[in-house]
């Protein structure tokens, strides 16, 4: 029997997963508080002790690690036009598993530089101009950056005509040159840049954050956690040699501070009468909503959906909901633990968090009439045909109403412009194994895929769940008008 240990140093918890790769089974999972302030190994040892008790093992044949501890991978980007190279830079960073803490477009100003210095990113991504296009902006921005003598690495992935000149301007700094993220108008080419970002993360940032201590004990950290999850989702959707995937999917991780959404789908227009506008988006796309989360970002959910909807969905009065929310803001570690009021509130918040985050992630369609008749304009990805939704996060795992919450990721006639999945099956990651399986997939893709198919709880069609939800809500009198058709 060959055993593999997979570690995810999260911002709050260090999560451990042990698998038996020969028998393709999960041996156990455990978690302990991440102790990055003192010695990261303290938390790791505590987690390991708990894991060993469950699995009965004390050593493992191999070990792989990912991390989002100590703030994760914090990036700032600058491009030229916000919707074009600006967006390409943002998508590239998110897909590499970064937390994007600043996005700039056009020429950087002195005030911008001050903000950049204050936010002190782990990596700066400098782009702008198509190949052979505008060089002025990226050269200006390189000079501006050089003036603050950045201590953080700078990745240059803009107009190739200007790349080497930018490198010279930034001489003395830690600079990397990659191919242009948008070599031609409307063409997104971000893989090389993402690879470079990941390498810098491994070689530099892990050391700087005191995470390397753990590697002395076990193994190298391979990638940022979101990057591991994205790889797990790509594998789950597409399959690998000898094991088919489940097809195009959308995955949502509702956390305490942020909500991550992943889509592995083509998403291009379905019909001839639909015109696509804007930058084509990556096949495997990740977005993070920094203002949507169950505890630290609870206010963002209320701001986005309105307290009325929170009240209607939870069955609590607006006043009571506001009181509880104020309390949860203070006590971010509070969980419902059987309290019916808190359970109802968390149900409403998680549902609205999913709805908002997936709506922002998905593309939109707009109907217009032209001299030639009815035409549609699509922006972003069309996910209506996606038939699989994967969900995870505390608020979805520790509740019996997972399916109902997940139904909010779907298309709604109330927001017909939002291209969310119309009819989908729901898979629930109750054991938090997605990041671990992304890590495992680096060496054992088939095993990782089979374990995911086995361990993710399959809930069948969320359309059915939705109709059940409708019935139950109508019966309880707290119904929100039918959300799905």
């Amino acid at each position: 029997m060959k055993t593999v240990l997979l570690i995810d140093f999260g911002s709050t918890y260090t999560k451990l997963t042990a698998v038996d790769v020969d028998n393709e089974t999960l041996l156990g999972t455990a978690a302990a508080y991440t102790t990055v302030q003192t010695d990261i190994n303290d938390g790791l040892k505590a987690g390991l002790a708990a894991l060993n008790k469950k699995t009965g093992h004390s050593t493992y044949d191999e070990c792989y690690t990912c991390s989002s501890a100590a703030g994760g991978l914090r990036m700032v980007t600058s491009g030229l036009v916000p919707e074009l190279t600006g967006e390409a830079a943002r998508l590239a960073s998110l897909g590499a598993g970064a937390k994007v803490v600043g996005v700039y477009a056009f020429q950087l100003t002195e005030d911008d530089l001050q903000d950049i210095q204050d936010s002190n990113p782990d990596i700066f991504l400098l782009v702008g101009g198509t190949d052979g296009g505008n060089t002025e902006c990226i050269l200006h921005n390189a000079r501006m950056l050089a003036s603050i003598k950045p201590t953080f690495p700078v990745v240059i992935a803009g107009n190739r005509t200007a790349a080497r000149q930018c490198q010279r301007i930034l001489e003395g700094c830690d600079v990397y040159v990659c191919p242009n993220v948008m070599p031609k108008f409307g063409v997104l080419k971000i893989e090389e840049t993402q690879k470079q970002i990941r390498e810098i993360f491994l070689n530099r940032i892990i050391q700087a954050k005191g995470l390397s201590k753990a590697t002395e004990l076990l193994s190298d950290i391979m990638m940022p956690t979101p990057s591991a999850v994205l790889q797990a989702m790509e594998l789950l959707a597409q399959g690998c040699d000898g094991e088919p995937g489940i097809g195009e999917l959308v995955a949502v991780d509702v956390g305490g501070a942020t909500t991550d959404v992943y889509s592995v789908a083509d998403g291009m227009p379905e019909h001839m009468n639909t015109v696509y506008k804007g930058l084509p988006e990556p096949y495997a796309k990740r977005t993070v909503e920094g203002d949507i989360g169950m505890r630290y970002s609870i206010q963002g959910i209320v701001d986005a959906a309105g307290i009325d909807r929170v009240s209607r969905l939870s069955g609590l009065t607006c006043q009571r909901a506001e009181e509880l929310i104020a309390d949860l803001k203070e006590h971010t570690d509070k969980v419902p633990n059987g309290d019916p009021e808190l359970e109802a509130l968390d149900f409403a918040l998680a549902s609205l968090a999913i709805e908002e985050a997936v709506t922002r992630h998905a593309g939109t369609i707009e109907e217009t009439y032209t001299m030639m008749g009815q035409t549609f304009v699509q922006e972003g990805k069309n996910l209506t045909k996606v038939q699989q939704i994967v969900v995870t996060g505390g608020s979805l795992i520790h509740t019996a109403r997972t399916e109902q919450i997940a139904a909010f990721a779907q298309y709604s006639p109330k927001k017909p412009a939002s291209l969310r999945p119309k009819q989908a099956d729901v898979w629930v990651d109750r054991t938090y194994i997605l990041a671990a399986m992304g890590l495992l997939s680096q060496h054992y893709p088939k095993t990782a895929l089979r374990i995911m198919k086995k361990e993710l709880e399959f809930y069948g069609n969320s359309e059915q769940a939705d109709s059940r939800r409708r019935v139950s809500e109508t019966a309880s009198g707290s119904a929100e008008p039918v959300a799905h058709g």
Binding site: L84, G133, F185
Partner: protein, 145 residues
């Protein structure tokens, strides 16, 4: 300054709620064949999209097509927006069925020139004519592109 011997870049597309795609494809091929680097935005293009693409690609000219008669409305204010976006003086060329009904083209042309367009072309203009005009506007006389 980088010394470049690069192709002249054109941003082209069909403006407004106009989905006539065929002429746009013909122009794309004709301009490419003539040695231009062409950024083709396709149909239903807004003024902002032309401008954004022109900024990123450091375009030498913007060529606007309009086939459904609403061109005059769609093109209004485009020059001002270009100025605002830092594309001061970029050549703007328009062509197609740019107005409704039978109107004297000299008058139509004058109206578009007043709007800040450098050239306006009537229906049925051959691509060669436009290419010739572009060469002139971009001072490419005699130059082999």
């Amino acid at each position: 300054m980088i010394v470049e011997n690069k192709k002249k870049v054109l941003v082209i597309g069909v403006i407004g709620a106009d989905v006539h795609a065929v002429g746009n494809k013909i122009l794309y091929h004709a301009f490419t064949e003539a040695g231009f680097e062409v950024v083709n935005l396709g149909v239903m293009v807004s003024q902002e999209e032309y401008i954004a693409a022109a900024i990123e690609s450091a375009a030498d000219a913007i060529v606007v097509s309009s086939l459904y008669g609403q061109g005059e409305l769609d093109c209004r204010g485009m020059r001002q927006k270009c100025d605002e976006a830092g594309l001061k003086g970029i050549p703007l060329v328009v062509g197609g069925n740019i107005v409704i009904g039978k109107q004297k083209f000299e008058e139509v042309e004058k109206r578009f020139k007043d709007m800040g367009f450098d050239r306006a072309f009537p229906p049925g203009t051959a691509p060669e004519t436009t290419i010739e005009a572009l060469r002139e506007l971009l001072h490419m006389d005699g130059e082999q592109v």
